[in-house]
Subunit: 212 residues, 2 copies
DNA sequence: TATAAAATCCTGTTTTTAGGGGATTGTTTT
DNA sequence: AAAACAATCCCCTAAAAACAGGATTTTATA
């Protein structure tokens, strides 16, 4: 049985690299690629692969969210997260959202093929290095914040004060203050500067600054 | 005349992708790859390519430094910086260190080939999107801050208060406050959150957080 | 050597955040 | 059904940052 593989990545060179690596694998069928979340979803309406290799950074949506959406509509598709970085927080989120594995972009052909074969069996695959990190970082800080906290965080990053945020979210200023306190506690920092820095570094804050 | 190309990148998939993209180009000869700065330098002792495609992120040394080193010893080699991100600060540093071009990893085969051909002619090549960024940022706000303001900015990002910064720099708290005010003015923001966000986004703040 | 720019310091006031306590109402999850 | 979590709200105090308006000295640079 041939495993049908599809890839979602906005880097042409990575797509080409994976295609090239899988070219001579007789057990794997290359279904094509998408360079963003929207065209991925469009493709899936026509055909369903067995495995999707999915970059965590996409131009229109994070791979983490796309993963969730795909698994919601097509639970039988196995998703392998793909990224350059060995970041536990992303890996965890991908897995939480239904991904079956996580592969670093410096993986070899053998790893790639093995990953695909593993997730098809219903098992979880993680890159060697990733597993190490997961272990190492287990005890360290990967703040898990709630949806509301995330909203507040983004508005803080946009430069709004507690009062302005309260008005925008139709809640009391004291509530905003509580969310803010919880954010500081979860990130284990003592002020806004460190909070925003950390959040920016773990890519919680979108790069393009929305006006006002 | 055949252009000899070598690549330095720690992502196997990217190496493979570029190799695959250049495979059928008769005017280009693939010399091989290195996955870190050390083996790149070792390779160059044996053979010299005409063009090196060099990732800015390498495990043992930044591409920016490696670029400088290579150009020092082998001035005739043309270097094209390679990265996933469209970050003006890196691009500028690569060019300052002697690189002849900058290519994003989502470049097409045509762009890649054109880039190689362009730098061989002694010209500078920049990805379309990169040029846009350079242009866009030209007239827009790239705040020019002084050395002292930079020091203060980094300490703010580290979570220090004005008072703590004052102690660390052996200056008065009011001076720190003045620097801070100037930073806010130069960045055209009204609070620390926005300041740190912007600074992080234009890569003014180092990624690895130094302890304390 | 003017002149500009950078770095230093000051006195105020107002606004915002941080830190310490709570508490209530829903909604998941076990 | 109980426990845990999320979201909401409150009080109070202290610390920090933002805003306004200065000034002096040192260091580049035209």
């Amino acid at each position: 049985m041939v495993i049908k593989v599809f890839i979602v990545d906005d880097h042409y060179m990575v797509i080409e690299g994976i295609r090239s690596l899988l070219q001579n694998e007789k057990s794997i069928e290359w279904m094509g690629h998408a360079m963003n979340a929207a065209s991925c979803m469009a493709f899936l309406q026509q055909q369903q692969p067995d495995v999707i290799l999915m970059d965590i950074n996409l131009p229109d949506m994070s791979g983490i969210d796309l993963c969730k959406e795909v698994k919601m509509k097509y639970p039988s598709i196995h998703i392998i997260g793909l990224s350059s970085f060995n970041q536990q927080s992303f890996i965890q989120k991908m897995l939480d959202n239904g991904a079956s594995g996580y592969l670093l972009k410096n993986a070899t052909r053998e790893e790639l093929v093995y990953a695909i074969e593993t997730v098809i069996e219903g098992e979880i695959f993680l890159s060697d290095e990733v597993e190490l990190t997961v272990q190492k970082n287990e005890d360290s800080k990967i703040p898990i914040i709630t949806r509301r906290e995330m909203e507040v965080l983004l508005l803080i990053a946009d430069g709004l004060t507690n009062n302005e945020i309260a008005i925008k979210l139709f809640i009391s200023t004291t509530t905003v203050d509580t969310h803010r306190k919880n954010l500081l506690a979860k990130f284990e920092v003592k002020n806004t500067a460190s909070l925003i820095r950390m959040a920016a570094q773990i890519q919680l804050i979108p790069y393009i600054k929305p006006k006002n």
